[in-house]
């Protein structure tokens, strides 16, 4: 039985060896310990020695070939002994050789998956993440507080423990309850964070320098409230003495619906990005003895007029009694301020940061207007929108105001 000669592991890390030179020829007599070949390892040139006496029957590997450790490279046996021919080592497959040398032909183009821009992916993930300390997250979860509604006071808007102080255990059913899983505008998430483009950054920097921290500009629109007034009278006749619908309710509803269609105005400035909210939480400025507070009607766009009305009244009451809880006055995405009851024709309101806009409502006053070539008396309302120019450009704000005007002038449009 011939003795196999192996490519041996001649160093601890050797995986293959290059047979540099055969020092014994086929047919030569060999003794144990004789050098058979020189092998180049990863470390040095070493020798394979014979481990049996006999005749070197066969070289299985040519000089210069590289062979893995453990492969048979030769046989030693009795002179003339037959060696069962092992399958010759497969010649290197032609394909790789070809592709290495020839220019690779263009393969049938595999349609690349629609590239998802990295920014979009980041944004999609970010929209699911609220910045909060691990402790705040845990406590919010335990208390059932919706972190999205808490404005964090930590760096970058991080919600930290003290922001939850006073947050009640278990959400109160009703106003504080999280919105039911209904159709939400946009991606399906509560909001979407979009990093600033170069243009946005430049606008922010320049306007901030000229106008101050929040660069306001103002858009005024005069709205015909005749039809809204008629609709209101009709509704209130139906409702009777139970909760009446006010002009303010109608305006709140109109603003909410307009925001739903103009998400670009329903946003927060966040220093290095803008948060576009897919939910509409409308802040309603309420004058109280010491000043002003803005309770929030959540998901106002999805609430009925009467729901908005009753909620607005309830919140205003709580505000005056100073019994509002933090989650009732935080988290608004846009605000409305109404000084109509003070006979103010129009005014410019100050934006509540980090919101990007606020609508100031003046009083509804009968005025002579030209309609169909005739002068007639119509009840008119002046609305002024204040916009943060870093977030809302002129045309964007104007488009919103146009929609709002259309809704108020044609109340049935709110039902669409």
């Amino acid at each position: 039985m011939p003795t196999k000669v192996f490519m041996e592991a001649l160093s601890p890390t050797m995986e293959e060896g290059r047979l540099v030179k055969w020092t014994k020829a086929v047919g030569e007599a060999v003794k144990t310990g004789d050098t058979l070949a020189e092998v180049e390892t990863d470390k040095a040139v070493m020798e394979i020695v014979a481990r049996a006496d006999g005749q070197l029957l066969q070289h299985l590997v040519a000089e210069g070939a590289t062979v893995p450790v453990g492969e048979v490279v030769a046989f030693i046996g009795a002179p003339g002994e037959k060696v069962a021919q092992p399958a010759p080592p497969a010649p290197p497959p032609a394909a790789p050789v070809r592709s290495a040398t020839a220019p690779s032909p263009t393969p049938a183009p595999v349609p690349a998956p629609a590239p998802v821009p990295a920014a979009a992916t980041v944004v999609a993930d970010a929209s699911r993440v609220v910045r909060a300390s691990p402790l705040a997250k845990r406590i919010a979860k335990e208390k059932g507080v919706d972190l999205k509604l808490i404005q964090g006071s930590g760096p970058g808007g991080r919600v930290i423990l003290r922001d939850l102080d006073g947050a009640p255990a278990r959400a109160v059913a009703g106003s504080a309850a999280p919105a039911p899983a209904a159709v939400v505008i946009g991606s399906g998430a509560a909001f979407e964070d979009v990093p600033l483009t170069q243009i946005r950054k430049t606008i922010a920097k320049r306007l901030g320098a000229s106008l101050g921290p929040v660069p306001h500009y103002f858009l005024t629109s005069e709205v015909d409230m005749e039809r809204a007034a008629e609709a209101r009278e009709a509704l209130n006749q139906q409702l009777g003495d139970a909760a009446k619908v006010s002009f303010n309710d109608i305006i709140l509803k109109g603003v909410s619906l307009a925001l739903a269609r103009h998400r670009a105005c329903n946003a927060w400035w966040q220093d290095d990005h803008i948060r576009y909210w897919n939910e509409v939480h409308l802040g309603m400025a309420v004058a109280i003895e010491e000043g002003l507070i803005t309770p929030v009607i959540r998901n106002a766009d999805r609430k009925s007029l009467s729901a908005i009305g009753s909620e607005a009244r309830a919140l205003a009451q709580l505000a005056r009694e100073r019994r509002l809880k933090p989650e009732q006055y935080t988290g608004s995405t846009f605000s409305v301020s109404n000084l109509g009851m003070f006979d103010i024709d129009q005014f410019t309101a100050v934006i509540n940061p980090p919101e990007a806009g606020i609508v100031a409502v003046g009083s509804i006053v009968p005025k002579p207007v030209v309609q169909d070539g005739q002068v007639t008396v119509r009840r008119r309302l002046r609305l002024t929108m204040s916009c943060d120019h870093r977030v809302i450009d002129g045309a964007t704000g104007a488009a919103f105001m146009k929609t709002l005007k259309q809704m108020l002038e044609n109340p049935l449009a709110m039902v669409l």
Partner: protein, 326 residues
């Protein structure tokens, strides 16, 4: 209860253990005739004789190895390095022989040896004489590393170290030798692997060891003046480290500042931070901050050296940051 110096506490520990077990001996430079470079071994030569209190040539690698060989031969050596800065030369013996002897012999050869000496900076000793070696030494499996901050802990930990059947490295401090503290009479053994709350608190945890315990206590005083309650947790043991104690404190305060003598990169505090973020993630209201030596070789000039070292003011500033006050 007697109030004695850290130095005398160590002296008591050595004396008591040498009286108790005659296989315990002390070896190092100047430990005998000179009474000890820092007088830690004062009087021991007179009491125990030259066979048991052995003055060596300046040959750290050599006598560390002699100690290890003696331990292989059944004795219980205490090897003193005049400072741990000089022990770098001996690291081959500590790391390749002492730490590994039990393991590579398949459990046959125990290594009941203590290596001790002052660690870290003193005053204006400049860069080669001021290094803190915690993170190098605590990195090695097969070793135990302790760093007592008070006289009571020094006595209790050195005694435990001598009785331990494994190699134990004791990191003392030149600046600590003169400090005084209460040391109970009678047998005093502090378990290796156990931290100690030196000052309880509720708003922030200051995790420290050795000289930084004093820094942290001063910072806690200053914070108390600002109505902020800091808990000072003295690790005492760097390998093994008392994870349950660390986690219990974090669960209480939710905020951590680590105070350490070594350099920031891969320092011992990085291990504390890993433990905290990994096991107490949901307890944290803020990231963990570290106050370390500046990432520079220690300068000679007095003011620069002060700038380089951790200070109570730096700890207070870090504490205020994790409290979101600044």
């Amino acid at each position: 209860m007697p109030t004695i110096t850290y130095r005398d506490a160590l002296n008591q520990a050595l004396r008591e253990e040498m009286q108790r077990d005659d296989t315990v001996f002390l070896m190092g430079e100047e430990v005998g005739l000179y009474q000890g470079a820092y007088k830690v071994s004062r009087g021991l030569l007179e009491e125990f004789g030259a066979q048991r209190v052995v003055d060596t040539p300046i040959a750290e690698l050599g006598f560390a190895g002699v100690g290890i060989g003696a331990a292989m031969g059944g004795l219980r050596p205490v090897i003193e390095f005049m400072t741990w800065n000089f022990a770098v030369l001996a690291l081959d013996q500590i790391v390749n022989s002492a730490a590994k002897m039990l393991y590579m012999s398949g459990g046959q050869i125990r290594m009941p040896i203590v290596f001790r000496g002052p660690n870290g900076a003193a005053l204006q000793l400049s860069s080669q004489h001021s290094q803190a070696w915690e993170s190098w030494l605590a990195h090695i499996p097969g070793l135990k590393v302790v760093a007592p901050a008070t006289p009571a802990d020094a006595k209790g930990l050195l005694k435990s170290a001598i009785r331990d059947n494994n190699p134990v490295l004791v990191l003392e401090g030149e600046m600590l030798y003169n400090t005084k503290g209460d040391v109970p009479e009678g047998e005093l053994l502090v378990p290796i692997g156990q931290a100690d709350v030196k000052r309880p608190g509720s708003d922030v945890t200051l995790i420290c060891h050795s000289k930084t315990v004093t820094v942290a206590l001063k910072a806690a005083e200053q914070l108390a003046g600002q109505n902020l309650s800091a808990e000072v947790l003295d690790l005492r043991s760097l390998r093994p480290m008392d994870e349950p104690a660390i986690l219990a404190s974090v669960a209480k305060t939710h905020r951590v500042v680590v105070v350490e003598e070594g350099w920031p990169h891969c320092g011992i505090g990085a291990q504390v931070v890993d433990i905290v973020q990994r096991e107490a993630f949901d307890q944290l209201d803020a990231p963990v901050l570290r106050v370390t030596q500046a990432d520079v070789p220690m300068p000679y000039n007095k003011q620069l050296e002060r700038l380089a070292k951790p200070s109570p003011e730096k700890v207070v500033a870090a504490a205020r940051r994790v409290l979101y006050l600044d």
